[in-house]
């Protein structure tokens, strides 16, 4: 089956992104396909490479990056939500006159059309939020 996943909450405060990650791993382990993982609302905070959790805690951001690399996942961060919350890649930094970027590897910034398309193209769109 073809899945897409929507992550609506940020890391650490809410369990939603942990659950989304574990669900994604389970989907892949069962041999299903992931069309796209979309990050919206505070979920965009899953994509900042500046996250530094304590050493004995899970690193939610690098965990996503690793999963994307291993399985060639398409992980998309909503541009409008990212702009509000300061998640920036090089293109966005240039466009909005920012002096830094923080988008973690494996993520890309794009529009909400990518979420709607994921809903259209996938057999299931599964939301992880509150």
């Amino acid at each position: 089956m073809k899945f897409s996943i929507l992550v609506s909450e940020g890391p650490y405060t809410h369990q939603a992104s942990d659950s989304a990650y574990q669900f994604a791993k389970a989907v892949l382990a069962k041999g299903h396909e992931i069309f796209r993982i979309f990050f919206y609302h505070d979920g965009v905070n899953n994509a900042t490479r500046l996250t530094t959790p304590p050493q004995d805690d899970r690193n939610i951001v690098s965990r996503w990056s690793k999963l994307a690399e291993e399985h060639k996942l398409d992980m998309v961060v909503c541009v409008a939500a990212a702009q509000r919350r300061g998640i920036v890649d090089e293109g966005e930094a240039k466009r909005n006159g920012k002096d830094a970027t923080n988008l973690a590897p494996g993520f890309r910034i794009s529009g909400l059309g990518q979420l709607v398309e994921a809903g259209i193209q996938s057999d299931r769109l599964v939301t992880f939020g509150d």
């Binding site: 909400l112 709607v116 809903g119 259209i120 193209q121």
Partner: protein
């Protein structure tokens, strides 16, 4: 393009959290993709449609007008849970746009018929 039934389930008050505002953004995009879009309002989500948002005191942009503009995007299927209205002392007359009110059970059936349900 494939047309799917997208339902946006709105359960939270319009201010206090960003969910209502960011939900509307997806609704407009789904409409632009010419999908079969509907909106459901239940729990505190019914406050999103309450007439007369007044946000000056909290220094936030009022977006009540966006609900009125949904018709321009051919988004006309708006369903409101009558139990959520009643629990908050509201009726359809208190709302800023015409909607279809229905029982929670009927709304549940409606959700069951969807291809994609996004709950905000």
């Amino acid at each position: 393009m494939t047309i799917k039934k997208f339902m946006f389930v709105n359960r939270k008050a319009p201010y206090g959290t960003v969910y209502a505002l960011e939900s509307l953004e997806v609704v407009l995009i789904a409409a632009a993709f010419e999908q079969d879009v509907s909106l459901a309002f239940l729990d505190d989500g019914v406050y999103q449609l309450k007439k007369g948002h007044s946000t000056k005191g909290i220094e936030m942009k009022a977006f009540e007008k966006t609900y009125g503009a949904l018709e321009d995007y051919d988004v006309t299927k708006l369903y409101v849970d009558e139990e959520s209205l009643a629990a908050r002392g509201l009726t359809a007359d208190d709302l800023c746009i015409p909607v279809e009110t229905m029982s929670r059970a009927a709304l549940g059936k409606m959700i069951e018929e969807q291809d994609v349900v996004l709950s905000f």
